[in-house]
Chain length 239, copies 2
C-alpha cells in the first residue's frame, strides 16, 4: 500500500521544509516524494532537516508542473485549509487514509501539499478529486508544511498497520493524464458549442470536474465520453 | 478539555524544536507548554519557528525538573520509542486521546516528550502512568520532536471535535505530587525493612509504581497507604 502513495510538494519556498517532510514520510514508511518547481533544491538545509531520510531526498523527482507529478495517478488528494468559492468533496485525514487503503493496491495515489504561505491555487485544487482538511483550531490553523505531511503520513501508517480492507471491485481506473485529456477536450467542445464563454467562464469547468470525479471514471468510460465529444465536434463543424 | 492538557518538553537541545512544537500545539488548540531545563530558551530560533504561536512560547513555564512540571497532574503520559527493561502499559496516540477525553474535565494531564537524541530516561518514564508509542516504520522511527507533538496534538483535536464522552465516575484522584510522596515513603520503608537493597535495587520500585498506577489511586487511598507505611516505620524502629 505505502509504495503506491506519493507525496507531492508544490512550489515549496523553504528547503528545510522539504527535508522535514522527507523525514516525516520516512518515519511512517513513505518513500515517494515529488517536488513541483521547488524554489531551492537540492539544498544543505533540506539535507540537514531530513536527518536520517536523505535517501528520500536523493530519490525525489523534481518536475515542472503538478500535472506531471500526478499524470499516472488515479486518486489525487489536495490539502486545503480554506473554503473555496466552489465547494469540493472535503474529507478528513482519516477518511483519506481509508480511501487510500481501499484503492492503493490497484492504482497510484498522490497527496498534494501547497505553498507555505498560500497553499494550492484553485486551478491546482481542481486537479484533485478530494480536498483534505486537517482538523485545526478555528483561529490559528496554519500548520507547518512538514507537520501537515506528518499528520497524513501518520494516518496512513495507522491504517496500514490495521487489518486489511477487502478489495471491493477490480476495475481499470482512468489515470489523471487521461482525465485531464478528457477535461481539455470537454472544455474545447463547451466553447465550440458556445455553452462556455472563455471571457466569463465562471465555475463551469470546476463543476464538471467535480461531477466526473465523483463518478470515478474507468478507462473505457473516458473513451466513450471522448467519442461523444468527437462526435459533437464533427457534427458542429460540418453544419 | 484542551485547557487541562499540558505539553512537557524535557531538556530540549534545539530551540527551533521548541518553537515548532509551540506552533504544532496552537494549531490544534493546545496552549500550556512546560519546558524542563531547556538548553537554550528563550531564543530567536524558537520565536522564528513558532510563527504565529509566539504567545504559547511567552506563556511557557520553565522549570528545573520533570517532577515540578507534573506536580499537579493526575494523569501523566510519556512518549517512548524504545522498549524498556521493565514493560510498562504502552498505548497508542489514539488510545491516549481517548483516555484524556474521559479524564480531562476533572484533572490536569501532562504529555511528556524527551530529548531529541535520547528521549526520556528510565527514571523519567517511571514517573508516567502510560507510555505512548507512535506507530512508525520499523527501520526508521525517529520522529522529529515537533512532529511527535503534532501527532499527539492532532489526535487530541480529532477527539475533541467528536461527540462528548460521558464522565464515568466522579472521584478525587491523587495528584502526581501526592503519588511521588507516597512512592518516596514506600521506598524508605522498603529499605528500612530490608526488602530493598539500595545497592542492588533491581526493578522493584518501578514494578511497584506500575502496579499503583494501574490502580488509579485517589487521595483518600494514598492517605490510607501512607498511614500503613507510617505504622510500619513506627513498629520497626521500636523493636
Amino acid at each position: 500500500m505505502m509504495e503506491n502513495v506519493r507525496i507531492v510538494l508544490v512550489n515549496t519556498s523553504h528547503p528545510g521544509n522539504i527535508g522535514s517532510s522527507a523525514r516525516a514520510m520516512k518515519t511512517m514508511g513513505l518513500k515517494n516524494l515529488y517536488l513541483v518547481a521547488p524554489k531551492l533544491f537540492p539544498h544543505d538545509k533540506a539535507t540537514e532537516m531530513a536527518s536520517g531520510a536523505t535517501d528520500v531526498l536523493e530519490q525525489a523527482r523534481v518536475v515542472e508542473t503538478l500535472a506531471e507529478a500526478i499524470a499516472d495517478c488515479h486518486l489525487v488528494f489536495g490539502t486545503s485549509s480554506r473554503s473555496r468559492a466552489i465547494s469540493w468533496p472535503v474529507i478528513s485525514p482519516r477518511e483519506c487514509a481509508t480511501k487510500i487503503k481501499e484503492q492503493a493496491q490497484k492504482t497510484n495515489i498522490a497527496i498534494v501539499f501547497g505553498r507555505e504561505q498560500t497553499g494550492l491555487t484553485n486551478e491546482e485544487l481542481h486537479q484533485c478529486q478530494y480536498h483534505i482538511q486537517i482538523p485545526a483550531d478555528s483561529i490559528y490553523c496554519s500548520l507547518n508544511l512538514a507537520s501537515a505531511v506528518q499528520v497524513l503520513a501518520y494516518e496512513l501508517r495507522v491504517i496500514h498497520e490495521s487489518a486489511p480492507v477487502p478489495v471491493l471491485k477490480d476495475c481499470d481506473y482512468a489515470s489523471s493524464e487521461e482525465l485531464e485529456g478528457f477535461y481539455e477536450h470537454l472544455e474545447r467542445v463547451m466553447i465550440q458549442i458556445e455553452f462556455l464563454n472563455p471571457k466569463a467562464p465562471k465555475q463551469l469547468m470546476a463543476r464538471l470536474r467535480r461531477l466526473f470525479y465523483r463518478a470515478e471514471l474507468d478507462k473505457r468510460e473516458v473513451n466513450i465520453l471522448r467519442g461523444i465529444l468527437g462526435a459533437i465536434e464533427k457534427s458542429c463543424s460540418s453544419r
